[in-house]
């Protein structure tokens, strides 16, 4: 408007003056029809009640659905204390350590059951940690990772580049967890799916192995990251399509979590045989190959079995928040209605 104001009156040389003035349109003259909301109680009452009702109903739905989630979470950092002590000393890195954790399901977990590993106090979202990766390398391109953000996990002293480079990859979660079902003293390994856990786009677009006739040659000339026990092309020796960069566990780990306490999807229960409907109630045990040290950062490790509903996991917060804010809005609506009714008898300014 300022500009218009100025230019409209600012005459230029000679005859062109008429053309400098804004058109006599509603837009230029700022006479557009306008909705002028008058925020008074009378006009907005309905919006409060509407919001309140809506929030309450959504909240109830959310709470109900969150309640239907079955979840079991087991902290195994203490239960495998021997192993954790062993891992405190980094010189023992190649020593294997196993432990098993037993638990009982009191009722069936029906439906798709997801198995997560959870880490506590692991700051994956630390700025310098989370930038320490090379997306280009993970796309299978032959890039000079020296120039990437991977430092200091780019190359070894001798110049051999790390594959994959960067701190994220280097610190990959490398415990392996198996679930066993103890049915009448016989131990049945619960069939778990290790693929299909990551996002489809990650697996098929964002992560690509370097092109070569076989994987080991593709990674020739590179070395595994220092904390890894085996090179990247041996991450899954059974499944060619789950090996190298496109390994699901690796992909999931590379998706940096938002908070220091987080869980990552590890396996899904394959719904066959006894487990067709999910996990039946009974005794179970996790067999864990304990590799990932957490004592260094006072972290904890969990293994989690959970189902999933449309509204996410078992976190009831959203539902509660909806209910609370819905209630608040409705209450406010009532209060201001009362105030309004009381004041309307008195003369407010406008009615004067």
């Amino acid at each position: 408007k300022k500009m218009e104001n100025k230019t409209s009156f600012l005459p230029q040389e000679g005859e062109v003056r008429p053309s400098r003035c804004p058109d006599n349109s509603a837009f230029k003259q700022q006479k557009l029809p306008a909705w002028k909301p008058q925020l008074t109680i009378a006009t907005v009452l309905s919006s409060f009640f509407f919001t309140g009702t809506f929030c309450l109903s959504v909240g109830v739905c959310l709470i109900l659905s969150a309640n239907s989630v079955r979840e079991i979470q087991i902290d195994y950092s203490d239960k495998c204390s021997d192993c954790s002590k062993l891992r405190e000393n980094s010189s023992n890195w190649n020593k294997e350590c196993h432990c098993s954790v037993n638990f009982t399901l009191k009722e069936d977990i029906l439906g798709d059951v997801f198995m997560y590993y959870g880490l506590q106090n692991f700051y994956q979202n630390h700025r310098r940690y989370m930038i320490s990766r090379s997306d280009a390398q993970l796309l299978g391109r032959n890039v000079n990772i020296q120039k990437s953000y991977c430092t200091p996990f780019t190359t070894y002293r001798n110049g051999t580049p790390m594959a994959p480079c960067g701190a994220i990859a280097n610190s990959m979660f490398n415990d392996s967890i198996d679930l066993f079902y103890n049915l009448n003293s016989s131990v049945i390994q619960v069939p778990l799916l290790k693929t299909g856990n990551s996002w489809w786009t990650d697996k098929n677009v964002k992560f690509r192995n370097p092109k070569s006739y076989n994987l080991s040659s593709a990674f020739a000339g590179t070395a595994r990251p220092p904390y890894w026990q085996k090179p990247v092309y041996l991450l899954d020796e059974e499944d060619e399509r789950n090996n190298g960069y496109v390994n699901d566990d690796f992909i999931i780990w590379m998706r940096v979590s938002a908070f220091a306490t987080f869980r990552n999807l590890y396996r899904r229960v394959r719904r066959i045989r006894q487990f067709a409907d999910g996990l039946p109630a009974g005794n179970y045990s996790f067999h864990i190959s304990y590799n990932f040290p957490v004592t260094k950062f006072k972290g904890r490790k969990h293994v989690i079995l959970s189902t999933v509903v449309w509204s996410g996991g078992s976190n009831p917060f959203l539902g509660i928040a909806y209910v609370v804010s819905g209630t608040a809005a409705t209450l406010t609506g009532f209060v201001i209605t009362a105030v309004h009714l009381k004041l309307r008898k008195k003369k407010t300014y406008f009615q004067k």
Binding site: L10, P11, K36, T51, Y123, N125, V256, R263, N264, K296
Partner: protein, 1449 residues
């Protein structure tokens, strides 16, 4: 008789003081000082002949006439612009951040992204600067390429040259109405007396013509000066900006020196008037001209809001630093928790870990980069001075052309004690007014300029029926070559002198009664009355003399339409036959012009280039012949055809098409005038518009001034035929005598007659007083006439008319001879010539016989009083700064209601600084006394008043100060007391102020009072003031484009200021403050999101949002809606704002941008960011969400919150708002989707690949966004609702009015006003009571008897804060007039007594006490009663008064 001596003393003192302490007034100007030190003199040598070598040596040092006001050139634009931009701390800071981001350790962003906002901001500003500069460049180019005639040595004649090619030492020849391209010394004028008239309106705004004198020694030359033969050199002072001074001398080849003064200098930017041709030599050119030096150049203005915003930005930065510090400390603590390096803390390349403190410090920098980056859009803010319009506290207004139309119109007259109301005339004026207002309405409807076109056409058509159509021809013939006047000239009549043909001014409808009396006058009866002086015909004599005086007693120059005036010097004999012949010839001529215009261009050009020379040679012949009277007539007749051809021909080729049209018009008019009117087509060009008005008035009564030469005046008097008066003397007007006289020999009686015309304040004292009581009938009559005339004068003054008294004196030859002797002595004396002349004049102007009085209206522009009143009600103080003389200024001030009837006027007029200080402190004391006295009654009545909120002091004072005193006042030591004084006054009028003083005054108020100032003016003399003020408004008027170019806003009329301030100012201010607050809110809210995240990422400086989106969020997704908000928001409709000026006060007090508002906004921002972060946080807590998937809902919710927040704050929502807000949201989603789909690697650290796509299919995402938005906005929504219901601000209440039906609305507004009015009635009663006592105490009151305000609005004070058009409260006008009668008798008594007491001491305040009476005539009987009571005490104050006048002298 003491007056002249005192005056002489004063002049002497002043002379000494200016010589001693010169430059003190100019000390503020660096330019002046620096030039003073560089070199004292400049030598100007013509670039001709034997001087050539020296010329080249000397003139290299001087600038040529090319001007460049642009800041950049094509080459220097980039470096210089960048340099200037990095002068802004903010930009430098951002540069620093960009550089910091290159340090690997603290690199928070990808390096390239970091530069994006900075580059965007720099580019936008650079483009804006570039465009602005380009328009200046275009303007410069236009001016530089104007053509003027410069003498060329090669061709031995004057050729057309561009202004820019004019050099110092060039000879320039100018014709009438041409603009002077450079400062030059006048060497030749076609005028016989070596005089050249110039109009300096473009420079100092004074509209009367100024005389300039050819350098002594050259004026005697008969022929035009030949540059080839010019062998003198000119030495003058170095360029300086003092318009009123020029010193130097011409050294002839024989070493004779002739002094030069400012009388010899033609200034750049002025226009040559009334003079056919002048030749001058350029002494200063281009930027060294006085006009340019007076232009202080472009001036960067920062709005008050911007200044305030800057401090708030500091707060924000502080907040930011605090946040960063928190981050740093937090990071340190977080790190120290770990005994050894965890995986996720990347060690240094050398494997060692950095200590927590250092890490914390690094984090600090990182955070600064991170958080500040997102804050960057606040840089881009569109702050301008526009919002200052909403906060104006002071308006400084020019008078001429700004408040007034600068058109003097004859309204009334009183002859021999008999008043002639000229009702017909008044009706005519009214009808013109209507016509004007119709025009103006269409201005409102469309826009100013388009109607200019229609007006222009209208004028032309009007001109067809106009006998005097010179103007239209003038306009069309392209005689205004400069400064965008090509268009301006068409519609607006230029200032008075040329455009006197404006019908409003020229058409005076005679009063029927007077006309009848007129018809009785015949030559015979006149002669009879002259001799017999019978009582019956006394009135006839008076009338005759009155009109003769009107016609003769002036310096009006007569010229025919498009004819130079020389040829009008026709002896009265033989005039009649020529006249008709002339008409025929003129008609023929017009035909020929028309033919010429259609003829091929080359021939026209030829004639144009040739004509001046031929013309000049003819002229010179004519001049020589003039010496022998016998040949006179014939010679002139011979010269005529050529003369008349030349000015037109030279102008024709420039505007062929236009002339074509014009010629058509002209032909019509010529024909019609031939048929209908025997009146000759005469054109009067006067030094002051008043004179012209009077001459035109006389003309309406068929007393037509036919011609004027230095020694005779011819008047065509209806009943008497043509009379030729021998002109013996003209005693010109000066501001000391306030009158002018002509001495003539009457052709009938053959007696020496003096006609005097002057301000009534001085004239009344010069009248012949009855020597012996009641001896003579005629003397009794005289006395009666005097009384009655005085009454009429008072009446006129009250109507806001400019009054003049006309008087006459018949002298015997002996008396005259004696006086002449003295006068001759005075004229020839070298020392004190001026003083002696004054004395001589005073000796002549005594014992006058009063003939009558006239009332002239300086028409105010339409709607000025209303505007001023409305602005007043809006709490704005208005000062009038004018170059005009005091009477005029005060008169206008009253007429436009700047000063009001019950205002008490203090006049500050002192010669020395000490006296000035004393007077000021005395006035202050008075005012304080009065205000405190006033309080008592108002407290008594306080319980009646509904609200105690009326802060405006009921006691109101006005201050009048003149230029010389201003000089003292502006001295450092007096500034404070002066400001204190002005703060107490409601209005300040500064007269005789120079442009520099104006700007100093504005700067003073601006800096010392920290007030928002607005300067409004239309002439170049206002440019410096306009530039200094916080907001400069140019009026696109009659005086060229300089003011408009320098201004920040341009309006076409003063009354538009009302809308500009009350409506647009209010809007701009509220819009921009809201926008600024919104920007703060937006940035704080958004930045805090990142901050909260730091608590969950070890204070490591991670952002959960992708960097691109982070930066584009402010740059793209949320930048347009607030701008739309800042552009389109209207809280209250224009109509309501216009009707309720009080609303302006809200913004004036910056209600919308109080610190509390700022902090509340910040608090709200904090709250919203908390909600916006923690709702998603808790929702996703413990899940497998990744960092960017978490950031996405946070960011999206933030977008919704920020945009919907805007919607809550918006006062009006149009489809544009909807489009923009919806568009922003859509754009965000489209961008995020597109970015998510394509970005795999090209954004290395962050990678939002497919996240948005994933979320779009996830209901939780929507639910989170929805809840977050609702919860975040709920408090503000509730707050606004509660505010709207329970504590509606005036603005909200006004907004409510918009929704009512028209009737309800009118009702409501009236009620609203009544609220205020009730207060004011009470207040008013208080005032009236106090003013009675107040008047008694005042000693510095100045009486301007002639400036009594109009009777229409005696109750201004009561409605000061209240209604606009409520007239119900006005008392009966009848009532009032009766009242006045009573008062007048009081007054005369009082006047006599006061004269007795002070006559020997007072000059400046010789009528000081009168005002108390004037003030009392405000029409309220209560007041007048009080005045009667207080008169005695006024007289008692006389001693104090004398004390002060002594001090002053």
């Amino acid at each position: 008789m003491a007056d002249p001596i005192r005056w002489a003393r004063y002049r002497w003192q002043r002379l000494i003081s200016t010589e001693g302490g010169e430059g003190s007034s100019n000390s503020s100007n660096k330019c002046y000082q620096s030039s003073k030190t560089i070199g004292k003199h400049r030598i100007v040598i013509p670039c001709l002949g034997h001087f050539k070598e020296e010329y080249e040596k000397v003139s290299k040092l001087y600038m040529n006439n090319k001007i460049r006001t642009t800041k950049y050139t094509l080459l220097t634009f980039l470096p210089r612009n960048l340099f200037e931009q990095f002068h802004r701390v903010a930009n430098l800071y951002f540069l620093f951040l960009v550089v910091l981001n290159w340090v690997p350790l603290v690199e928070a962003f990808q390096k390239e992204i970091t530069m994006l906002p900075l580059i965007a901001v720099l580019t936008i500003i650079a483009v804006k600067d570039g465009l602005e500069d380009y328009s200046k460049y275009k303007m410069d180019k236009q001016i530089n390429n104007l053509l003027t005639k410069v003498y060329s040595r090669k061709e031995k004649k004057y050729i057309d040259e561009c202004w820019k090619n004019v050099n110092v030492g060039d000879f320039i020849r100018l014709s009438r109405n041409e603009i002077i391209p450079a400062d030059m010394v006048l060497l030749y004028s076609s005028d016989l007396d070596g005089i050249c008239y110039i109009e300096t309106a473009g420079l100092d705004g004074e509209t009367n013509l100024k005389q300039r004198q050819v350098v002594r020694g050259y004026s005697e030359q008969v022929s035009e000066i030949d540059p080839e033969k010019f062998s003198s050199r000119i030495e003058c002072e170095s360029p300086n900006n003092d318009l009123s001074r020029f010193r130097g001398f011409v050294e002839h080849s024989n070493k004779d020196r002739v002094g030069l003064s400012k009388e010899n200098l033609l200034l750049r930017g002025c226009t040559v008037r009334n003079t056919e041709a002048v030749v001058g030599i350029v002494v200063y050119a281009g930027h060294e001209t006085k006009a340019m030096l007076n232009n202080s150049g472009p001036h960067y203005k920062r709005s008050k809001l911007e200044r305030k915003v800057n401090t708030d930005i500091l707060w924000c930065v502080l907040l930011l630093i605090l946040m960063c510090l928190t981050g740093a400390i937090g990071h340190g603590i977080w790190l120290s928790r770990y005994s050894e390096i965890p995986f996720f803390n990347i060690p240094e390349p050398d494997g060692k870990s950095i200590p927590p403190t250092l890490a914390g410090f690094n984090m600090f920098w990182t955070m600064i980069i991170l958080l500040q980056k997102t804050d960057s859009t606040i840089q881009c803010r569109a702050l301008n001075i526009a919002e200052d319009l909403g906060q104006i506290q002071y308006i400084f207004s020019d008078k001429t052309g700004t408040l007034t139309e600068n058109k003097m119109v004859f309204r009334r007259c009183s002859i021999a004690g008999q008043e002639y109301c000229h009702e017909e005339n008044a009706k005519r004026l009214e009808s013109y007014q209507e016509m004007d207002s119709e025009d103006e309405d269409s201005v409102d409807r469309q826009c100013g300029s388009s109607t200019h076109m229609s007006k222009w056409r209208g004028h032309n058509c009007r001109a067809v029926n106009e006998p005097l159509n010179r103007k239209s021809l003038n306009q069309l013939s392209g005689s205004y070559p400069a400064l965008g006047r090509e268009d301006g000239a068409g519609d607006v009549p230029h200032s008075g002198h040329v455009a006197f043909s404006s019908p409003i001014e020229t058409d005076v409808v005679p009063d029927a009664q007077l006309l009848e009396k007129f018809s009785q006058i015949s030559f015979h009866s006149y002669q009879q009355s002259e001799e017999a002086s019978s009582k019956l015909s006394l009135e006839t004599t008076y009338i005759t003399d009155f009109f003769l005086a009107l016609a003769i007693c002036n310096t009006v120059v007569v010229s025919g339409p498009n004819r130079p005036r020389q040829k009008m010097r026709v002896s009265s004999l033989g005039r009649m036959p020529i006249k008709s012949l002339e008409d025929i010839r003129q008609m023929f001529q017009r035909w020929s012009v028309r033919r010429l215009s259609s003829s091929p261009l080359p021939s026209a050009k030829e004639s144009s280039s040739e004509s001046p020379n031929t013309f000049v040679s003819k002229l010179s012949i004519f001049r020589m012949k003039l010496a022998s009277p016998a040949l006179d007539g014939a010679a002139q007749r011979a010269a005529e055809p050529h003369n008349t051809d030349s000015p037109e021909n030279s102008q024709v080729p420039q505007e062929l098409a236009v002339v074509d049209v014009a010629a058509g018009c002209e032909r019509n008019s010529a024909a019609s005038s031939m048929e209908l009117s025997p009146l000759p087509k005469l054109c009067y060009e006067a030094e002051s518009p008043d004179e012209a008005a009077l001459v035109h008035a006389a003309r309406a009564y068929k007393c037509i001034l036919q011609s004027r030469s230095p020694d005779q005046v011819t008047v065509d008097f209806a009943g008497l035929g043509s009379l030729t008066f021998q002109l013996l003397h003209i005693l010109p007007f000066d501001s000391v005598r306030k009158r002018m006289s002509v001495v003539i020999r009457h052709p009938v009686s053959n007696k020496v007659v003096v006609y005097t015309k002057g301000a009534d304040s001085v004239m009344m004292d010069l009248l012949r007083t009855a020597s012996e009581v009641g001896t003579n009938n005629s003397e009794m009559e005289q006395k009666k006439i005097k009384e009655r005339t005085q009454k009429h004068l008072d009446d006129y003054a009250r109507r806001g008319l400019r009054t003049l008294c006309i008087a006459k004196k018949v002298m015997s030859d002996a008396e005259y001879a004696e006086w002449l002797n003295h006068h001759f002595l005075a004229e020839t004396s070298i020392d004190n010539r001026e003083e002696l002349l004054l004395e001589s004049a005073i000796r002549l102007e005594t014992e006058l016989t009063l003939l009558g009085a006239t009332g002239i209206e300086d028409r105010l522009q339409e709607g000025v009083p209303d505007t001023i009143q409305a602005l007043r009600k809006a709490g704005i103080k208005i000062w009038m700064l004018t170059g005009d003389k005091r009477e005029t200024a005060v008169n206008i001030a009253y007429a436009c209601k700047l000063l009001e009837p019950d205002d008490r006027i203090f006049t500050l007029k002192s010669q020395s600084r000490d006296a000035c200080a004393l007077v000021m402190s005395k006035i202050l004391e008075d005012i304080q006394k009065n205000t405190s006295a006033k309080k008592n009654p108002s407290q008594k009545l306080g319980n009646v008043s509904a609200s105690p909120s009326t802060q405006a002091p009921a006691f109101s004072a006005g201050l009048v100060i003149d230029g010389r005193t201003l000089e003292h006042v502006l001295h450092d030591s007096l500034q404070n007391i002066f400001l204190e004084l002005t703060e107490k006054c409601r209005a300040v009028v500064c007269c005789r102020a120079t442009p520099l003083q104006k700007s100093v005054l504005v700067r003073l108020v601006r800096n010392k009072l920290k007030a928002m100032t607005l300067a409004v003016g239309d002439g170049a003399n206002d440019v410096s003031m306009i530039q200094v003020a916080d907001t400069g408004v140019g009026i696109l008027g009659q005086e060229g484009m300089q003011a408009v170019m320098a201004s920040d806003f341009a309006i076409s009329q003063f009354r538009h200021l009302r809308k500009l301030l009350l409506v647009h100012g209010h809007w701009c201010y509220t819009r921009l403050t809201n926008m600024v607050l919104y920007f703060f809110y937006k940035n704080v809210a958004y930045v805090n999101l990142l901050f909260w995240y730091q608590f969950f990422c070890g204070f490591s400086g991670t952002s959960m949002t992708d960097y691109w989106i982070l930066i584009l969020f402010n740059l793209l997704f949320t930048s347009v809606p607030p701008i739309i908000y800042g552009v389109f928001d209207k809280d209250v409709s224009a109509e309501i704002l216009m009707q309720l000026p009080q609303l302006y006060m809200m913004s004036q007090k910056s209600v919308a941008y109080l610190p509390s508002a700022f902090w509340i906004t910040l608090l709200d921002a904090f709250y919203q960011s908390l909600v916006c972060f923690f709702v998603p946080y808790f929702t996703y807590y413990g899940s497998d969400i990744d960092i960017f998937s978490f950031g996405n809902p946070v960011n999206t919710a933030a977008l919704f919150i920020i945009l919907l927040h805007l919607l809550i704050e918006c006062k009006s929502v149009t489809w544009i708002h909807t489009v923009v807000i919806v568009g922003s949201i859509l754009f965000y989603f489209v961008f995020a989707l597109a970015f998510g789909a394509t970005c795999k690697t090209h954004n290395p650290p962050s990678n939002p690949y497919w996240i948005m796509e994933k979320h779009m299919t996830d209901p939780v995402f929507y639910l989170v966004c929805l809840l977050t938005t609702c919860v975040a906005l709920l408090p503000r929504y509730l707050l606004r609702v509660l505010q709207g219901t329970f504590f509606p601000s005036p603005v909200l209440r006004a907004k409510h009015l918009d929704r009512l039906t028209p009737e309800e609305q009118r009702e409501a507004i009236k009620r609203w006003k009544d609220d205020c009015t009730v207060n004011y009635r009470v207040e008013f009663q208080a005032t009236s009571r106090s003013s009675s006592s107040a008047t008694a105490a005042v000693s510095q009151e100045e009486s301007i008897a002639s400036v009594l305000p109009t009777p229409k609005t005696p109750f201004q004070a009561c409605s000061r804060d209240g209604l606009v058009e409520d007239t119900s409260f006005l008392p009966d006008v009848q009532d009032e007039s009766g009242n006045t009668n009573g008062l007048n008798s009081e007054k005369t008594v009082f006047l006599n007594s006061s004269k007795e007491t002070n006559s020997d001491t007072c000059v400046s305040s010789n009528s000081c006490a009168k005002v108390s009476v004037c003030a009392s005539q405000e029409g309220s009987s209560a007041i007048s009663l009080a005045h009667k009571a207080s008169l005695n005490s006024v007289l008692g104050e006389d001693d104090a008064l004398r004390y002060f006048t002594k001090l002053e002298s």
